[in-house]
């Protein structure tokens, strides 16, 4: 929407009236002005249909719209629209840019002017239709200002019966729409005036000069709870892993007639139609579709009085404050929800990413005095730029969240006096390199790795206090011994046992193929390995023997080494016998008989070696 809103203008503006008379704008005349003011809620919404004719000679490209400057601070929203076609009903309205004009365009004291740029310049003696839509907040004054629980809420409304116009108005009407079945205390009578159902109609009045006003007062019953949010902080946190978290912190006030006297919960509960009629019992928030993980809580904890309705186009959260709000009472609470990333974050054609999210408050028909929208961009985002269809204050912050190193860029948008009409999409463009998403997992990886490194260091460091105590010495020696035994074992189990297996395998091969040469070669290689490992074994054994030890292990190892040696020798002998027998072409029966003693001894030794190794483990 290309609507421009100018607000928070309170300063009185002084101008020369004479300037107005000479201005080319004086050539415009309003043929017909119809104003409809809706007073049924606590915000005043009015639509003014203007039929403007150019009676001058030059074409005019803008139309001025006037408001009393006393109302300027209450103005929350102003928008204008026109129709392209001749027939109003058939054409779709086109929004026109509206901007606050200052300096020489201001025609009268105490008046604020807005200029509305027309679609195409209005030529001489042509006419066009323009609709101006305005929303005012805090215009209805409760009177009496304080009511008890059983009273109804009466409000006063002051306005002018004439449309304030910088141009002469030929025919005009004004109607005020009141809540249904109204109790009207009083209203100013300016003939012709008519009260029908819930509507007071003033007019038609003819030939009213520019800047005329005639005040009227309406005093009527309005039991709408005046839901005013003093401050709303919305935090929109984008995660590139597929989610957007929204957290909204509310400070809600009932801005209507103040409550006086006591509060009876019994009356309130038992007679809801009579007691506390203007109280705020429930609220409705319209959240985006596919919202999940919705919560509603305050400082105490979860507030259970809420219902969630999901449907295709929206998620509706119906909730009640922790206690009913009567006039002047406050409540603070938090609403939070998550929405899928793909619904609101997009990639633009130029590679930039952008968030497209509703700006205003999701609760229906409230006034937000101060709205702060904080957009937390993913860590590593650069160059944020904001596109909001109205003026907002903009600033930047840094927030630290889960697994952050440099912090996340936060774009803070602040706007005062926000109404439902501001609930339009805004965009935030930012640059983001997808590689930056790896920072978070790599941080976790680094954390785990540092923990492992700490374990490695701990295992290597010596934390004992007395390094000379006997138990410490014993432990060190024990560790050295374990290490030496382990090395011996490696030689036994992996190198020498391997050789034995190879020898046996070559014998089997011989039995199968009769390849004596191959068998001899295998024997040669095995002998070489054995010699080598025997050398190693002796060296290790020597070193084990050297230092004095209180352990009864050396004899065991000695026995082990001796038995192992014998086993290897027996194996070699067996091998030799088999090969020889083959060369002499003896029968397999004969061979079996010949190697039987060796075989027996070998299996006995094998058993003994295994037992010894086992006992080495146990010490």
């Amino acid at each position: 929407m290309e609507l421009r809103c100018a607000c928070s203008v309170a300063s009185a503006i002084l101008v020369l009236l004479s300037l107005a008379q000479t201005n080319a704008n004086a050539e415009l005349v309003v043929i017909k002005a119809d104003r409809k003011v809706d007073l049924s809620s606590h915000n005043v919404r009015s639509i003014t249909n203007l039929k403007v004719e150019n009676t001058g000679f030059d074409s005019v490209s803008e139309v001025l719209f006037a408001l009393p400057s006393s109302l300027a601070s209450n103005l929350a929203f102003i928008g204008a629209s026109a129709y392209e076609g001749k027939v109003k009903n058939r054409a779709t309205p086109v929004n026109l840019p509206v901007k606050l004009t200052k300096s020489e365009a201001i025609l009268s004291e105490g008046v604020v002017l807005f200029s509305i740029i027309l679609i195409k310049p209005l030529k001489a003696s042509e006419s066009t239709l323009v609709d101006v839509y305005t929303v005012f907040t805090h215009l209805l004054k409760p009177f009496p200002e304080e009511i008890t629980q059983s009273d109804v809420q009466l409000v006063l409304y002051y306005d002018s019966v004439y449309v304030l116009s910088p141009y002469p108005v030929k025919v005009q009407t004004t109607s005020f729409k009141l809540p249904s079945n109204p109790r009207i205390e009083s209203y100013t009578k300016v003939n012709p005036v008519k009260l029908a159902d819930a509507e007071i109609k003033y007019g038609p009045y003819e030939n009213i000069p520019a800047f005329s006003s005639l005040s009227v007062t309406v005093h009527y019953e309005n039991n709408q709870p005046f839901a005013v949010v003093e401050e709303l902080v919305r935090e929109i946190e984008i995660s590139n892993w597929g989610n957007i978290y929204v957290t909204e912190n509310y400070q809600l006030t009932h801005g209507g007639a103040k409550h006086k006297g006591g509060f009876s919960r019994l009356d309130f509960q038992a007679r809801p139609g009579i007691s506390g009629r203007a109280s705020l019992r429930g609220l409705q928030a319209r959240l985006p579709p596919r919202a999940h993980s919705v919560y509603y809580r305050d400082e105490i904890g979860n507030v259970s009085t809420s219902h969630l309705r999901l449907d295709k186009d929206k998620t509706e959260l119906l909730f009640e404050p922790r206690y009913p709000l009567l006039g002047g009472w406050h409540v603070t609470f938090t609403i939070g929800y998550g929405v899928p990333l793909q619904d609101f974050v997009f990639r633009a054609a130029d590679g930039k990413r952008y968030l497209r999210f509703p700006f205003g408050c999701p609760i229906q028909d409230v006034v937000v005095k101060k709205l702060v929208v904080k957009v937390v961009l993913p860590e590593g985002s650069k160059e944020p730029s904001v596109q909001v269809p109205f003026t907002v204050e903009e600033s930047n912050e840094v927030k630290y969240s889960y697994l952050d190193s440099v912090g996340r860029t936060v774009v803070v948008l602040t706007k005062k006096n926000v109404v439902q009409e501001h609930n339009v999409f805004f965009e935030i463009y930012f640059k983001f390199n997808p590689v930056a998403m790896l920072v978070e997992p790599l941080m976790l990886v680094t954390g785990f790795f540092l923990f492992f490194i700490a374990c490695v260091a701990y295992a290597r460091l010596d934390f004992s206090i007395s390094k000379s105590s006997a138990s410490y010495q014993a432990r060190i020696q024990r560790e050295e011994l374990i290490d030496a035994v382990q090395k011996l074992r490696i030689i036994f189990v992996f190198r020498r046992a391997n050789v034995s297996d190879k020898l046996e395998a070559s014998l089997k091969e011989l039995a199968r193929t009769g390849d004596i040469q191959g068998c001899k070669a295998a024997r040669k290689a095995a002998d070489a390995v054995l010699r080598e490992s025997t050398k190693d074994l002796n060296a290790k054994f020597q070193s084990l023997q050297c230092s004095p030890r209180p352990f009864n292990i050396v004899p065991k190892v000695e026995a082990l080494v001796a038995k192992e040696k014998e086993k290897q020798e027996k194996l070699q002998q067996k091998h030799t016998v088999v090969v020889e027998s083959f060369e002499r072409k003896l029968s397999s029966q004969e061979i079996d008989n010949r190697i039987a003693p060796y075989q027996q001894r070998i299996s006995v030794l094998k058993q003994e070696i295994d037992d010894l190794l086992q006992s080495l483990d146990d010490f």
Partner: protein, 78 residues
């Protein structure tokens, strides 16, 4: 304004988060267990630093990514 934009999705489909976190954490914990078994069964003199660094590196890689997906699965969108 916002006409030419294409929707942005998570680089890993969200439905895969439970599977990824469970499988990566399982592998990671197993490698970590192997690392600790190695630490306590070897003596100070026979430990190999390269072996330790390799196993701990693999374990922390699996555990790191596994715990990331665990966070995402449980709704902590980092």
């Amino acid at each position: 304004m916002a006409d030419a934009g294409t929707a942005l999705y998570s680089p890993v489909p969200e439905g895969l988060y439970p599977f990824l976190s469970i499988s990566l954490l399982t592998v990671g914990l197993m490698v970590a267990a192997y690392f600790f078994i190695y630490e306590v069964t070897t003596s100070k003199f026979s430990r190999s630093l390269v072996h330790e660094l390799l196993t701990s590196g693999v374990a922390s890689l699996f555990l790191g990514f596994g715990s990331l997906f665990l966070l995402l699965w449980t709704g902590v969108y980092v």
